[in-house]
Symmetry: C2
Subunit: 127 residues, 2 copies
């Protein structure tokens, strides 16, 4: 029952719950871009790749929805894969040129974010 938002830290910390901070979710979009740049993939496989990146608390339906929205933006494209699945057909996504462009902007934003976080750490350690 992940519930995000204001006051996350205490709720997550005091009880060892599966709540994630809003930060994790806001990394989802660029993370999917990066993963799909590495290689095409479908929702279910991306879910386990997210797990490998310690983004374990994101709800599957959020990932699927995000992929659909990214396809609407034409950052990614997909085809149905009916053969070679271990279950029902899967939708395999790949990055488009526009998606690569979006990833470039996102990369800059991630750099900026790292800088801000580093400044915060500096302030924390100072005190």
């Amino acid at each position: 029952m992940p519930r995000r938002g204001r006051g996350w830290a205490m709720r997550a910390g005091s009880r060892g719950e599966e709540i994630h901070s809003p930060l994790v979710v806001s990394l989802l979009e660029p993370t999917l871009l990066v993963l799909l740049k590495e290689q095409p993939g479908h929702g279910y496989s991306l879910l386990s790749e997210l797990n490998a990146l310690d983004m374990t608390t994101i709800h599957p339906s959020v990932v699927y929805r995000t992929l659909r929205e990214m396809e609407t933006l034409e950052w990614i494209e997909s085809d149905w894969d009916t053969d070679q699945t271990q279950g029902p057909p899967r939708r395999t996504y790949r990055l488009t040129a526009q998606g690569e462009e979006a990833l470039r902007y996102w990369t800059q934003e991630l750099e900026k974010t790292n800088l801000i976080i580093d400044k915060l750490f500096a302030k924390i350690q100072k005190g």
Copy 2:
């Protein structure tokens, strides 16, 4: 007219607009904790401190609202300051013990976030 969310990267990049990624906003809460740990302050002064940290696109009312919510959580407390203002009375906030506790959890989360971003950079540079 900052509009966040899905597709931020292209909207922000293609036109040089004042749109921020969802990442920036999700740093607001821990940033306010850090700034108030450094020293007590009021909303208006915190706004310029956020500017100094390159978090320029966050709307003032969002900052004020966040402060009020953090006070409800008892992470911070406030008093009205009627003297020594350069305008109307200001509400001066300071960190509570619970706020320090929250900051500790947030610090861990920021470390985790930095790690994830670094992993993403590694993947980006590899490709």
